[in-house]
């Protein structure tokens, strides 16, 4: 299985811009399926980005974050070729993680 996480991290000068897209249904718990059954909530709660063991960004998400969530931020102190670790955990306890190279 391919990772659920897609990352683009590009360094320019002292700043690294990070964009991530994650494959996840982000079911809100307010939607019914074709049979009229409520689809139970299923969403990522926390997403973390780490560089050299230090968290550079932490997201707390509720079910109002769009399906296949996207986030963009920038941080200082990293260089090209550095590792950036991304991980998430959802409300059912599922997780995924990936380590990307900063370009």
């Amino acid at each position: 299985m391919a990772s659920t996480i897609r990352v683009r991290a590009s360094n320019s000068g002292d700043t690294t811009e990070v964009q991530a897209l994650i494959q996840h249904p982000m079911d809100s718990g307010y939607v019914k399926d074709a049979k009229g059954q409520v689809i139970p909530p299923h969403f990522i709660q926390q997403l973390t980005f780490e560089h050299n063991g230090k968290a550079v960004f932490l997201a707390d998400w509720g079910p109002a974050v769009a399906k296949d969530p996207y986030v963009k931020f920038s941080f200082k102190g990293a260089g090209k070729g550095d590792d950036l670790k991304i991980s998430w955990v959802d409300n059912k306890g599922a997780t995924d993680a990936i380590t990307a190279k900063i370009q």
Partner: protein
């Protein structure tokens, strides 16, 4: 009573149409199909209606004509929602079938950069062959079960094949074969024919009302509408093939959709692709 309203509306629409036709048929000469003139007139209609939109930008549908939406689109395109489908499609495309062959063995140029040549008219068979149909024929020829025309696998594969063809001008040919011309005419007729309880044709929305709102959506212009397929629609929360697009359009007019890849759908794709000749492939696209 509801029935009464339905019928009255239809009757009124039909009688108006009948009147208009009386007037027209008195002057108009009998038609001989002329795709070259059609394409020219089709293009002129849209460029006259939207003088600020660049010709090659029509393939971006509603985003070519609404600034607020264009901005939302640009932001989505930074990391587009079809990204996962594209990756899946690339993987599927290169994975060999049970017999060891791949999609590359079924298509010209190994299947890369060829989206703009579909659909084409097959003179042996006497029918229009769409990319989706060709993909399933490739699968069946190699002992694999065909994909559903409206589901994710087909959308992912065509997304990848479109992606490798981005920017290439649509290049649909009508061979010198009366059956090809007939297929083209049939597609044109399908496009302009009113259907469903709402009495809408494809053209009602995508020609006459292109650029206008239905709820929050801006209706896509028909010119170049095929160039963006397949598309990720936020409304669907997922990808959709050309087949799915046609089926859902029919349903919205409250017509019972035809079977995917029925002659009518193949022919209308042929017509719409032909009149968009020269406009770049922009698929996979994302749409509200």
């Amino acid at each position: 009573m509801r029935v009464r309203t339905i019928l009255l509306t239809v009757a009124a629409a039909l009688s108006t149409a009948a009147l208009a036709c009386f007037a027209a048929s008195a002057i108009a000469a009998p038609d001989t199909p002329d795709p070259v003139a059609d394409a020219k007139a089709f293009r002129k209609y849209f460029t006259d209606k939207f003088p600020k939109v660049k010709l090659e930008d029509f393939v971006n549908g509603p985003y070519s004509m609404n600034e607020d939406m264009r901005k939302q689109w640009k932001e989505k395109e930074e990391f587009p929602p079809y990204e996962f489908a594209l990756d899946a499609g690339k993987e599927m495309f290169s994975k060999p079938f049970k017999d060891g062959k791949t999609y590359a063995d079924c298509f010209p140029n190994g299947g890369i950069g060829i989206r703009q040549n579909y659909p084409y008219f097959d003179e042996k068979e006497g029918k229009v062959i769409t990319l989706e149909l060709a993909i399933n024929r490739c699968r069946e020829a190699n002992g694999e079960a065909p994909y559903s025309y409206v589901k994710d696998e087909m959308a992912s594969l065509t997304a990848y094949m479109a992606f490798t063809s981005r920017g290439k001008p649509m290049d649909i040919k009508i061979p010198n074969d009366p059956r090809a011309l007939a297929a083209y005419e049939n597609g044109k007729r399908y496009f302009y024919t009113r259907r469903g309880q709402l009495n809408f044709s494809c053209a009602s929305c995508h020609v006459q009302s292109a650029g206008e709102h239905i709820r929050a959506e801006v209706l896509a212009p028909a010119l170049g509408i095929m160039n963006a397929l397949p598309i990720y629609r936020s409304e669907w929360g997922g990808m959709g093939t050309t087949s799915r697009r046609l089926v859902s359009c029919n349903s919205q007019t409250r017509a019972v959709p035809l079977e995917p890849q029925s002659d009518e759908y193949r022919d209308v794709e042929y017509f719409l692709s032909y009149v968009a000749n020269g406009l770049p492939i922009s698929g996979p696209g994302s749409r509200p």
